[in-house]
């Protein structure tokens, strides 16, 4: 048991006032009577002037005052009636990136873990404990067990991640677990989030142990590599966005590296709660781009970000087309684009093995059967074709709508109202997405579709590009659309994948199994199968290899909510200024849920007041 507001006990001085009132009341009005002869048989009041001999009313008043003072002091019972009766406990430990924030000599995670260990140490030996870690999604580290030693070991083994957190998912999970329990189950959450940020419908029954005060953090919020599909990597550009999450000015240095070569180093000053962007260019070549902040802040996980400038690999394109201006235009395009290697074949000379040596096959006014085993673009397919059922033709139509979310159409300018001379009205296959729409008098119809069919990317442009003059200056949008389609059909080699920590990515297939995964901290894991699914929990480069084939996964923490480590209601504390200072952790004896019973004392005081009033009236009646 304890009190939250011990200063309220100072109101005990009011007892002196109560006694003074009592004594003053005893020095009551004096009335001289002729004689006390007739008063001897009367019941005299028990209180004497000089000696304090309290009566029942005085005792009631003392108890009433004690109830009020105790209520103001906000007493509590450690563990509370509910928790004391709980036979099961679920410990939820937040392992998101913000928990790595330094608070003096220790970190938030260390503080929370210690609190959890202390709570575990005070639980009855017969109670069952479940331990859950919560980052992007909850993970059950230990199921309900009476072996508190196992839970303790799991607590000590737990470590924070570089991922964003979603405590609501974890709370929903433990709430569903608790609902299924036949015994009362207490949930204890150790996190740096305030209760107000928890889902309202999940706050009930949760005991929150919140840590963390500092807001001192500068982090990289974005690293964007701008590189055209067919562009020379030396012309790539990188944009870095640095955010100051603190409530004071921040200083530091930004260093950009391409692999191990420093390509940029500059200092910066960012005002409180502001951000600053850096545009870096003149990269010497392809490779891994590393952006590194040199700052003194509380959270390190967001001080590093990775990007990838891919090497230029030529795309082998096979054009199967009758003699046409489209072929000539594509030849001119290939001549101007180093990464584009074009082979033009007449339809009657086309063989299936020719497509096998290409990265992309383009069929103009032709749909071979069977379709080639390669990514394929069909331009203005004939009416009777086995792949795109055509119902009619249309002339002089316009592009009225487009699927701006498709990667093939990003980041094109609006394609609206582009006139087209000839178009096939096709029925889009089930495996395809419509990219462009047009409309006749009575219906809409697609102008371009794209999707995956039999394991290959397939696209179809239902209007005749030859008639539109692809390289005409009036049809720049068509040109860009064609190049985007070509880029979509010729994906990059998956040398590196850039993703967010906590996300899931499937890689493969690899040539042989098992597949080795080397984490940024050097830990190596061996995974069976030729296709692996990775979920990076750390910022850094994950190297996946199998029989000489190597892939890299570059994981970044780009989450402003997670990087904004300041907590509302707590005064910001500079991590650097508190270095070496002792950050108070709840003493071992002061852990566990608190159940305040002050309101009961107020009700008791009210009841005493009613009793005292009744007694006083009875005495005077």
């Amino acid at each position: 048991m304890g009190v939250i507001e011990p200063l309220a006990l100072g109101f005990s001085a009011l007892y002196a006032v109560l006694v003074l009132f009592y004594l003053w009341e005893r020095w009551r009005r004096r009335v001289v009577v002729p004689s006390l002869l007739l008063w001897e048989t009367l019941r005299e009041d028990t209180v004497r002037a000089r000696r304090l001999r309290p009566d029942l009313l005085f005792v009631l008043q003392c108890v009433l005052l004690a109830c009020l003072i105790a209520g103001l002091a906000r007493p509590y019972l450690r563990g509370g009636p509910g928790a004391a009766l709980s036979e099961r406990h679920i410990l939820v430990l937040d392992t998101s990136a913000s928990m790595q924030a330094r608070e003096g000599p220790t970190s938030r995670f260390e503080q929370s873990r210690q609190q959890a260990l202390d709570l575990l140490g005070h639980l009855p030996a017969e109670s069952e404990v479940m331990f859950v870690t919560a980052a992007r999604q909850p993970e059950t580290a230990v199921l309900f067990t009476r072996e508190h030693g196992a839970v303790e070991q799991a607590l000590r083994r737990a470590s924070p991640t570089d991922t964003a957190g979603d405590l609501s998912v974890a709370l929903a999970f433990v709430d569903s677990v608790r609902q299924r329990q036949d015994l009362p189950t207490a949930v204890d959450v150790f996190t740096d989030l305030p209760r107000s940020q928890l889902p309202e419908n999940l706050r009930a029954g949760v005991t929150l142990f919140q840590v963390g005060e500092t807001d001192d953090n500068l982090g990289i919020e974005a690293l964007q590599i701008f590189q055209g599909r067919f562009q020379d990597p030396r012309r790539a550009r990188a944009y870095v966005l640095v955010q100051n999450f603190a409530h004071r000015e921040g200083h530091g240095f930004l260093t950009m590296r391409l692999d191990d070569q420093v390509v940029h180093h500059s200092g910066f000053t960012i005002a409180a709660r502001e951000s600053k962007g850096f545009l870096i260019h003149d990269f010497p070549g392809p490779g891994r781009v590393t952006a590194q902040l040199e700052v003194t802040d509380a959270l390190v996980a967001d001080n590093t970000a990775y990007g990838w400038i891919r090497p230029l690999r030529p795309v082998r394109v096979l054009l199967v087309s009758p003699p046409s201006s489209l072929g000539d235009e594509l030849r001119a395009l290939a001549a101007a684009t180093p990464a584009l290697q074009l082979t033009v074949v007449a339809p009657e000379q086309y063989r299936a093995d020719q497509a096998a040596h290409s990265d992309v096959a383009i069929f103009h006014r032709l749909v071979p059967d069977p379709p080639p085993a390669v990514n394929t673009l069909y331009i203005y397919p004939p009416k009777d074709n086995p792949l795109f059922a055509s119902t009619a033709d249309a002339t002089d139509v316009e592009v009225l709508d487009w699927n701006s979310r498709h990667s093939a159409l990003q980041p094109l300018q609006p394609l609206a109202a582009l006139p087209l001379q000839h178009a096939r009205i096709i029925t889009p296959p089930e495996w395809s997405d419509v990219l462009l729409w047009s409309r006749t008098g009575d219906r809409e119809f697609p102008l371009a579709v794209a999707g995956e069919h039999n394991g290959y990317r397939v696209a179809c442009i239902a209007f005749d590009l030859e008639a539109e003059r692809l390289l005409s200056s009036d049809n720049v949008n068509f040109f860009l659309f064609f190049m985007n389609m070509l880029g979509w059909l010729s994906p990059d080699a998956q040398d590196a994948v850039v993703m967010q920590t906590g996300e899931v990515q499937t890689l493969g297939p690899f040539p042989t199994q098992p597949v080795r995964v080397r984490a940024p901290d050097g830990q190596i894991s061996t995974l069976p199968g030729t296709t692996v699914t990775v979920q990076p929990l750390r910022v850094g480069e994950y190297r996946i290899s199998s029989d000489g084939t190597r892939r890299s996964v570059l994981a970044n923490l780009f989450d402003p909510l997670e990087s904004d480590i300041g907590r509302a209601g707590k005064e910001p504390v500079l991590a650097s200024t508190t270095a070496g200072a002792t950050v108070p952790i709840a003493p071992p004896g002061d852990v566990g849920p608190r159940t305040e019973f002050g309101p009961w004392l107020y009700w008791g005081a009210l009841a005493l007041l009613v009793i005292e009033w009744w007694l006083a009236r009875r005495m005077l009646a």
Binding site: V32, L37, E44
Partner: protein, 312 residues
């Protein structure tokens, strides 16, 4: 202790009594006395007893040797041929002794004006007696004075009324009640008993007033006890609900709350006190009257005391 307003009260009470209008009312009443041991002739006829000379013929008796022949009824001798001596109704003076309790208890509560009432009653009785040519002595019973009593000279004649007033005006309340001791001391200087009227609140232990009244009865006084009481004493709830009550004479204190129970107890105690006093007076042949100051002097003089038989 309350400031002594008894002098003011006395003056006010006497001013109300000693007015021509009130005195004319008092002229209509007379003290009723059944016997007197005084040998001095007076104007008060004795209900029993005859004397050799007088004004009013009472009866005859046979002549005996030594009788005064001047009272021989010659008419009776002529008619009855018998020697008969006239006897006359005895008329004696009846000294009035008014004993006024001027202890501190008579001054509280001040709203009751017990002393003023007592002095007014004393002045009225003194006038009635003086008008009848009977002497009057007023004695103040007060432990604060030497001898526990203060006696006035014997007032005779109606013209002595101003002196009566002056004596009464000098009386002040104070000290403890000295009914027994004061009376005893005062009676030592009195040779001739008469009518003794004791004006007091009788707030003493029964043995005190029993001794005082018994002393008077033993000395063959015709005794009347008039209990002076005011509304504040009758119903103390008029004065307070919760207070430290202090005895006006002893200074003893009690912390009191006049709850319903305590109020009932007080009323019972008061009634028991009066019952006992009345019973004693009845046993000893003492006339007892309860005078309410709130009812006024006229109620007492013209209704209560005539009903008692003290006045007519």
């Amino acid at each position: 202790m309350q400031p002594d307003d008894s002098g003011i009260e006395a003056a006010a009470a006497l001013a109300g009594v000693l007015t021509p209008t009130f005195l004319r009312k008092l002229d209509r009443v007379r003290l009723t006395v059944r016997r007197s041991l005084s040998t001095r002739p007076g104007n008060t006829p004795m209900p029993r007893g005859a004397q050799g000379s007088g004004i009013e013929l009472e009866s005859h008796k046979p002549y005996g040797e030594g009788d005064d022949l001047r009272h021989l009824d010659w008419n009776a001798y002529g008619r009855l041929d018998a020697l008969l001596i006239k006897t006359f109704r005895a008329e004696r003076e009846v000294p009035l002794h008014v004993f006024v309790d001027t202890s501190a208890s008579m001054a509280v509560p001040s709203s009751d004006n017990k002393l003023g009432f007592a002095l007014g009653l004393a002045a009225s009785l003194a006038y009635i007696s003086l008008r009848n040519h009977d002497p009057v002595r007023i004695v103040s019973l007060n432990h604060a004075v030497a001898g526990a009593h203060l006696s006035s000279p014997l007032f005779r004649h109606r013209a002595a009324l101003p002196r009566v007033r002056d004596f009464l005006l000098q009386l002040r309340c104070g000290g403890t009640t000295t009914l027994a001791a004061g009376l005893a001391a005062a009676l030592r200087t009195q040779r001739t008993p008469g009518l003794a009227i004791l004006l007091s609140d009788f707030l003493t232990p029964p043995e005190v007033y029993e001794q005082a009244l018994g002393n008077l009865v033993a000395r063959r006084y015709t005794v009347a006890a008039i209990r002076v009481m005011g509304p504040g004493e009758h119903d103390p709830a008029r004065l307070f609900r919760r207070a430290r009550v202090i005895d006006a004479e002893t200074g003893a204190q009690r912390l009191m709350t006049l709850s319903a129970e305590n109020t009932a107890r007080y009323a019972r105690a008061l009634e028991d006190h009066h019952q006992r006093l009345r019973a004693f007076c009845t046993r000893c042949g003492v006339l007892f009257s309860l005078a309410d100051t709130a009812a006024g002097l006229e109620q007492s003089l013209f209704h209560d005391l005539p009903a008692l038989g003290l006045l007519h």
